[in-house]
């Protein structure tokens, strides 16, 4: 009897934070907005309930068979309604507000999925999505599996890094030869921390372009970028040829790490792979 009470109380305690999130177990025509949200729905095995995706949802490849309702911050109300959704699951920042208002008017719930750029953020996202979809058991299972994967790679990365945390500069893009880099609390910052390293930028948030002198002054040990997609991306040669980058330890050791953007910045179920790749590139492959 006493055991039962404890179990009930524990269950109630864990259920509490989830009550804030509405559950829509009957939703069978879901428009998924945001790459991580879409990947989680696939990992939960609930993809048969999807009817549309947004431009940022590009994984798994099967998702391309779904109609694309546009960029998450510029959703068109009629475009979204045209796929007849009974639920729109989104990442925070989706909109605009006018579209949200009209969807609400049409009786289509517009549910944002919270979550930051850390292991906890990824697990929160999984829990939230599974709660909204009405499959909390599957969600708990997935969160446990992903949590374990992340814990393993993070521990490995932390151990390999030791005390000498490498200082990594995340370069989002190089418009006009200037480096647009990730500051604190960006996705780039999050993945660098998870790989046991330190963001070379510690003085600003968001993304900023750096002056050449600032790059030399920062002297990052490595430069992290998304893997090139198509011909228009900055090539590794371009970045190494940058006069200021060439003077940094990263430039001299040609330490430019390129990882697929959806692994690196998605903060979805595949984040552990991104952390693993980054850690291997930073500390050398295998056991070495």
């Amino acid at each position: 009897m006493r055991f039962l009470t404890t179990a009930t109380l524990t269950a109630a305690f864990f259920a509490l934070p989830l009550q804030a999130q509405d559950s829509h177990p009957d939703a069978n025509r879901i428009a998924s907005v945001g790459g991580a949200v879409t990947e989680i729905i696939y990992e939960l095995g609930e993809e048969h309930r999807l009817v549309a995706r947004d431009t940022t949802s590009v994984y798994p490849p099967a998702v391309h068979d779904l109609p694309d309702v546009g960029y998450m911050r510029r959703l068109s109300p009629e475009g979204v309604l045209s796929v007849n959704p009974d639920l729109v699951l989104t990442e925070p920042g989706s909109g605009p507000q006018e579209t949200i208002d009209i969807l609400t008017e049409a009786g289509v719930p517009f549910v944002p999925v919270p979550g930051g750029y850390s292991t906890q953020g990824i697990l929160d996202r999984i829990t939230s999505v599974s709660t909204v979809l009405g499959v909390p058991e599957k969600g708990a299972e997935l969160a446990e599996r992903i949590g374990a994967e992340l814990a393993t790679v993070e521990a490995m990365a932390a151990e390999r890094a030791g005390d000498a945390k490498p200082r990594v500069l995340f370069v989002l893009s190089m418009p006009g030869g200037r480096l647009n880099v990730g500051g604190l609390n960006t996705r780039g910052d999050g993945i660098i921390k998870m790989a046991g390293a330190e963001n070379a930028i510690q003085v600003f948030e968001e993304y900023r372009t750096l002056s050449d002198e600032a790059i030399i002054e920062l002297a990052p040990d490595a430069i992290l970028m998304m893997a090139p997609r198509g011909d228009h991306s900055t090539s590794t040669e371009d970045i190494l040829a940058h006069p200021a980058v060439a003077l940094t330890p990263a430039g001299q050791n040609a330490k430019v790490i390129r990882i697929d953007g959806t692994l690196l910045l998605g903060f979805g179920p595949r984040a552990a792979q991104g952390v693993q790749l980054l850690a291997e590139a930073l500390y050398g492959g295998g056991e070495g």
Partner: protein, 362 residues
């Protein structure tokens, strides 16, 4: 100023000046009204949500029940969008025609009186600095903050320019033009400082604001915008004769008994109000104000009495067509309408230039 004078002759003097085109111009009003009705019908029945809305329309007429989704698509999305398209299209084209008449320059557009620069700066400020505003203001304005700021910014800038350019009751359009360039550069610079401070989300909002869209049209926005635009462009018919007179030059216009100052004041103020409201409601939409008056001058000649009402109709038609393209071409996503008007408008404008090149080279 020689460029201004040269160009003014090209537009202003009817070439050849013999044929009376008022009959065809009046016919054009009827034709365009008919076209506007047809375009409006198509605008209500095309869109990502499919053709079942035709049935919904007939159900509505027969008093039958329609689904909530169809009702929302028709009543909350397409109708306000249609209304906003007509208002903004008419306003952009009429303002373009007014400015070209006033400045006697075929390249003039409402941007010349500083309304776009002011509206743009105010919109950037609102997007970037929203976090620093008192909570009361933010709560009271909601997502009207940016449009409201844009309208006030555009209107305020034009008033300022008007004051700068007016001495002893006479407004110099040349001074206004040059001061507008200076003020535009200043707004650009201040805007640049703000953009540099902006975070990523704000930057993305700014980019899309600049491209314009009718997608955000709601009944509330239409109801707020409509009175301003309607009032402003209803002044236009009073200006037809005055602008025709002005095309002979200011001195000549005065000699034939036109109150030049009144024409200037009314044109500038109504352009500032109508363009300010249009830009505020839909963001930056280019080329309608340039292309529409030029097309019409080819068809019906430069008489402002007919040019202005026809411009309102053709502007509305072209914007509705652009809007239809913007919402079906990559459905269910949507292309910003400013891209569509620029893609359609630029070749047409070039074609007009090539046709009239002999005239402009004079």
């Amino acid at each position: 100023m020689s460029m201004l004078t040269d160009a003014s002759e090209a537009v202003a003097s009817p070439i050849p000046p013999i044929r009376d085109r008022s009959h065809s111009a009046r016919q054009m009003i009827l034709i365009l009204t008919g076209l506007l009705v047809v375009t409006s019908y198509f605008s209500l029945t095309t869109g990502a949500a499919g053709t079942s809305l035709l049935d919904a329309l007939s159900a509505l007429i027969h008093g039958e029940e329609i689904s909530l989704r169809d009702k929302v698509v028709l009543w909350d999305i397409r109708l306000p969008r249609l209304a906003m398209g007509i208002l903004v299209g008419a306003s952009l084209a009429v303002c373009g025609a007014l400015m070209q008449g006033l400045f006697r320059n075929p390249l003039a557009d409402p941007g010349l009186v500083g309304v776009n620069a002011g509206a743009g700066l105010a919109a950037v400020s609102a997007i970037v600095l929203v976090g620093h505003l008192p909570l009361a203001i933010r709560e009271a304005t909601g997502y009207f903050l940016v449009p409201l700021a844009a309208f006030l910014g555009g209107w305020g800038t034009t008033l300022l320019l008007y004051r700068v350019a007016t001495r002893r009751g006479q407004t110099s359009v040349a001074t206004m033009l040059l001061a507008g360039i200076a003020l535009g550069a200043l707004s650009g610079a201040v805007g640049g400082i703000l953009i540099y401070q902006a975070n990523d989300d704000q930057l993305r909002d700014l980019t899309f604001w600049g491209m314009g869209s009718l997608a955000g049209a709601t009944w509330l926005k239409v109801l707020v915008t409509a009175p301003v635009i309607l009032l402003a462009i209803s002044v236009a018919p009073l200006l037809g004769k005055g602008l025709n007179g002005l095309s002979l030059g200011e001195a000549a216009a005065r000699h034939i008994g036109i109150n030049v100052q009144r024409v200037k004041r009314l044109s500038i103020l109504s352009v500032a109000a109508a363009t300010g409201a249009a830009v505020a409601a839909t963001g930056g939409i280019g080329f309608i104000g340039i292309v529409v008056p030029h097309l019409l001058r080819l068809a019906i000649g430069p008489d402002h009495r007919y040019l202005l009402p026809n411009a309102a109709l053709l502007g509305a038609i072209l914007l509705l067509i652009s809007d239809m393209i913007s919402r079906v071409i990559i459905a269910p996503a949507e292309l910003p309408i400013g891209i569509v008007t620029a893609v359609l408008g630029s070749p047409v404008f070039l074609w007009i230039l090539l046709r009239r090149r002999g005239v402009l080279d004079m």
